[in-house]
């Protein structure tokens, strides 16, 4: 479907555009999704962390990244145990409260809680709710073939929902759009590493996050324009510690937390919304396209606590991320009640200690609203490094 649903930014100054997109990311009514539906489009919601959005895009659907929202889970609370993380509840709340209307939902067995989400979702809605079984053992020689078949299984349902068949031409075009999107996001992260004073941490986050709720062609246009504007932005370089933020792979920290962290230090790399940057290389747009998507997932992907790959020990990957970005320290967080995130902290801290990399350890919850103590702690940590 070729419609522009969010053109408000055109002709606006950069600062206003970035502020508008912050509002859009925080808007729990998801106006871009409503506009898309009003124009007759269908929506596939996919839960964190990674989903091959190219397939839904090729079918003319809007792939919507379901990453929770700043909502009270008044409807969803009763569907989950109190010991479960917040993102599950607020994600379901988005649908139960009618703020977001989907045509299909997909989740992944990234943890026990997420594995059950599609079933809970499916009991409440009549549209297809599926689990995409990503390979548990990515080191198996059969994992690419297995994942390709999973993608094909999913594609069949997507075609049914979209009411069209996905041709190779459709999928190749979509792969091209997403390759461009990933290239632009890499460019954004290069800028964060090389000139972090040009864009605040929360601005960069919002610029990336809107990709999960806009047609990707529109996101590409926006990214190209912003990346073109940023180098000439009047911004004063400040003397700040460079840090890597780790812990935003699934549940997202509140935007205010990102803003508060970003005003005390330069966040030069992170794993926030890592699913949007999961594939590290261009996906070939010729040959067996589903096979190509499966291949890059297994062979050319980032890391997170919910993918287990012996070639990518998470602690070593974090050390590489720190070295690659020239960071001086790490802020390692985990969402409250997030088992994969909390478990990985042990290995992270051990590795950071061994390499004498200063680290600040904390937890967050997407709906937390008081940051004063945490900010003071982080700042004191950073000041002890800066004025050693």
């Amino acid at each position: 479907m070729n419609v522009h649903i969010w053109d408000d930014w055109r002709g606006q100054p950069l600062d206003e555009v970035l502020a508008d997109y912050r509002n859009l990311v925080e808007d729990a009514d998801f106006p871009t999704v409503k506009k898309w539906r009003d124009a007759g489009g269908k929506v596939l919601g996919h839960f964190q962390v990674y989903f091959p959005e190219e397939i839904a895009h090729a079918a003319g659907m809007l792939p919507l990244k379901i990453r929770g929202a700043a909502l009270e889970p008044t409807h969803a609370d009763s569907h989950f145990g109190s010991y479960l993380c917040s993102i599950l509840k607020t994600s379901l709340e988005m649908a139960l409260s009618g703020r977001v209307v989907l045509d299909m939902f997909v989740s992944h067995p990234i943890c026990d809680a997420a594995r059950n989400l599609a079933a809970i979702w499916g009991r409440n809605f009549s549209y297809p709710c599926q689990i995409l079984y990503l390979p548990q053992n990515t080191n198996s020689a059969h994992s690419v073939r297995y994942l390709r078949d999973e993608y094909a299984r999913l594609q069949a349902t997507i075609e049914e929902v979209a009411g069209c068949r996905i041709t190779d031409t459709d999928l190749a075009r979509s792969i091209g759009v997403f390759n461009e999107n990933r290239r632009l996001l890499r460019e954004l992260y290069t800028l964060k590493r090389e000139s972090p004073w040009l864009i605040a941490a929360d601005e960069a986050y919002c610029l990336m996050a809107v990709g999960g709720m806009l047609p990707r062609e529109e996101h590409n246009e926006l990214l190209r324009w912003v990346l073109d504007q940023l180098p000439s932005r009047p911004a004063r370089r400040q003397d700040r510690i460079r840090i890597v933020f780790e812990g935003g792979f699934c549940e997202q920290p509140p935007l205010d937390l990102i803003r508060i962290l970003g005003r005390s230090c330069y966040i030069v790399d992170d794993d926030l919304l890592i699913g949007l940057r999961w594939i590290l290389t261009d996906v070939p747009a010729t040959g067996d396209l589903l096979g190509n998507l499966a291949h890059v997932y297994v062979e050319h992907s980032s890391y997170s606590p919910v993918q287990h790959d012996l070639r990518k020990p998470k602690d070593e990957m974090l050390l590489r991320r720190i070295a690659g970005s020239g960071a001086e320290a790490a802020i390692v967080c985990a969402a409250k009640m997030c088992e994969p995130g909390l478990e990985e902290q042990v290995a992270y801290i051990d590795a950071l200690d061994k390499h004498r990399i200063p680290c600040f350890l904390s937890e967050f919850e997407e709906n937390m609203s008081s940051f004063e103590q945490l900010e003071m702690q982080v700042e004191t940590f950073l000041e002890n490094l800066m004025f050693a």
Binding site: Q238, Q373, E383
Partner: protein
Amino acid sequence: MTLTAGIDVGSTYTKGVIVDESGRVLSRDIRPTGFRLGEVARRAFDSCLAAAGLTSADVQYVVTTGIGRHLVDFKDVAVTDLTASARGARLLFPLTHTVLDVGGQTMKASRLDEAGKVRSFRLNDKCAAGTGAFLEKTARYMGYKTEEIGPLLQTSKTPVPISGVCAVFAESEVINHLSIGTPPADIMRGAIESLTDRSVQLMKRVKAEPEFTLTGGILRFPLMADAVRRQLGCEVNVPAGEMVQFVAALGAAILAQRRLVQLRDESSAESAARAVEATS
């Protein structure tokens, strides 16, 4: 001469200090903060520059602190009041291991290590009780201005107990005391004692160790330091005169000096490394 500035944008007053590399204060300024935090910081800085006969180009590094520290666009770096007060207290009293800062709207206790870094800290809860605002409000109820609190306290003979837990309850208590004819000086003294209780509790929670240095606007009233001394059972340091309000700004300016030295050292080390690389 290497000059640096420290600007403490506090909730009630904004303080500015310019120092040289020996830590000597060249000029200082204090003014009510108001609502435009970035602007008041600029005015305090400009006033410091004018008083020392300098221009902004003469100041090599600016560190801001206080509640409005992030809103100052000409800063090089912002630091917490904890770190700034710690460094200021260490400059004035080198054996300081615990700092109690009682400001207009916050109260903070911190314990320092040998290097002067903050190792542990506690803030007051989100409540006016235990802050300068509480004392000002109490004085206002009784028809006194802030600057009259000091002289009023001197006339107290028998302080009355005032709730140290909640400013709202304390307000009711003040009204009750007034209605039964308690002298305002004794009520004010009671409020100071209540503030002291909270301060000492906070210091205990950070496992306070001597020497203790007290800072912040409330310490302008000598009775406050006396009360803390009494409760702790030992001597406390209080910066002389108005300097008690400038400790964080002074610390910020000193941190700026320290940072400049670090940056110069790093730059020299990088140049040396490049030279070695080029000749090898």
